[in-house]
């Protein structure tokens, strides 16, 4: 799952979350495969970001590495270190972060190819 500014979204990508407008009205359901026309329509409705399945766009941005996320998370636990329950939670979150990042690394292989291939229109999304 990845949040992407709408100008980087391309046809064939698939919504991981429904799109809701400013008035709170649902516009598109989760699982919808985006078409050029649909993207245009969403742009005209002032939707600025979409949540997509997989990790289809390489933004090279500030995405934190799992190691960095874990380091920051561990620091937040400093005051409760040594408490058995809190230690269990910290370990579970650490495993969760690693598992999610592994999955993201596996998943985008096909998705990324799809997004980068010129004119990915018409191809069925992942």
């Amino acid at each position: 799952m990845q949040r992407v500014p709408i100008n980087l979204v391309e046809p064939g990508m698939v919504l991981a979350k429904p799109v809701v407008n400013d008035a709170g009205m649902p516009l598109c359901a989760e699982g919808t495969e985006l078409t050029a026309a649909l993207i245009e329509r969403l742009k005209r409705m002032n939707i600025s970001q979409l949540t997509l399945k997989g990790h289809p766009v390489e933004m090279g941005g500030p995405a934190k590495s799992p190691e960095e996320q874990i380091r920051e998370m561990t620091a937040r636990f400093a005051r409760v270190q040594g408490d058995p329950i809190m230690d269990t939670i910290r370990e579970a979150i650490e495993k969760a972060i690693l598992a999610e990042s592994m999955e993201q690394r596996d998943e985008p292989a096909e998705q990324e190819g799809l997004a980068k291939a010129d004119g990915a229109q018409g191809e069925s999304g992942g």
């Binding site: 429904p18 709170g24 969760a96």
Partner: protein, 277 residues
């Protein structure tokens, strides 16, 4: 001075409660009447366009498990019930005050609401929507202190920072009570139902809640986990608060697949971004 007296002293000093839109007062009166219908409530909320947009947005968020499915207020009222709608309307109104001055706290509250929803559904608790709503409002006392007792608030922040102490300890030193006590008073003042008041009041101390201990425990744990995942922040710098052993076992947390739950939470939390009001 006992807690009650402290609260009395504080409430005397509060010049004005955060002002709520007239719709909220009408709504409070309306849901107490025995023959009110979902349609009446829907109509009332819809009369305030800004408010109804916010309510729809919140109702369509993942913590109510209805993502993107609700397109009208009356539909929302039928699906979620009066208590939840009242809580949602209140939080939409109150957090507007918060949005300007306390963005981190709003995000923290959203995070706690999402996590409460995930935990309650995972454990199969009844009325996860109400539990999420209680989580959304759990730090409401902080908003009141910030808005209505701003000098005290500044002192609390200073003590917490300079002496590296927990925000709550600093509150107790300055006010004699903490934001949970103040939130309890405020939520009674607003006529919220017990299902919301109890978790708000006991979110630090769920073991002593008189009834509804499971709900207080969920909000207590979700509050801590929101800090753990680093969602939002607050004036308190974001250290993870300790979870009580009793609440942890009460919910049967030692017996569940914790890593799987944390993964689910991690995914659900991506949604916080969508619901910044």
């Amino acid at each position: 001075m006992g807690k009650e007296q402290h609260i009395k002293a504080i409430t005397r000093r509060i010049q004005s409660l955060p002002t709520l839109p007239p719709v909220v007062k009408k709504l409070t009166a309306m849901v107490e009447s025995p023959d009110v219908t979902a349609k009446d409530v829907g109509k009332l909320i819809s009369s305030d366009q800004v408010l109804s947009a916010k309510v729809l947005k919140l109702v369509n968020s993942s913590f109510y498990g209805l993502s993107g499915k609700v397109s009208s207020i009356s539909h929302a009222v039928i699906l979620l019930g009066f208590n939840v709608i009242k809580g949602v309307v209140l939080s939409a109104s109150v957090f507007e005050i918060m949005e300007r001055s306390m963005i981190g706290l709003w995000e923290h509250s959203l995070g706690a609401a999402i996590i409460s929803g995930t935990i309650s559904r995972n454990l199969g608790l009844s009325e996860p929507e109400e539990i999420s709503t209680a989580a959304l409002l759990h730090d409401i006392g902080k908003v009141l202190v910030r808005v209505s007792l701003s000098e005290d608030y500044d002192r609390i922040i200073r003590i917490a920072r300079e002496q590296d102490r927990a925000f709550r300890e600093a509150e107790l030193e300055v006010l004699g009570v903490d934001h949970a006590d103040i939130g309890a008073w405020l939520s009674r003042e607003w006529g919220l139902p017990r299902q919301l008041i109890t978790p708000i009041t006991y979110h630090h101390d769920p073991d002593n809640a008189p009834g509804l201990q499971d709900r207080a425990a969920v909000v207590h744990i979700a509050d801590s986990l929101a800090h753990a995942f680093g969602v939002g922040g607050g004036p308190d710098g974001g250290g993870v608060p300790r979870i009580t052993g009793k609440s942890w076992s009460l919910l049967g947390m030692p017996d569940i697949d914790l890593t799987a739950l944390m993964r689910k939470i991690l995914v659900d939390l991506e949604e916080v971004e969508n619901y910044k009001l």
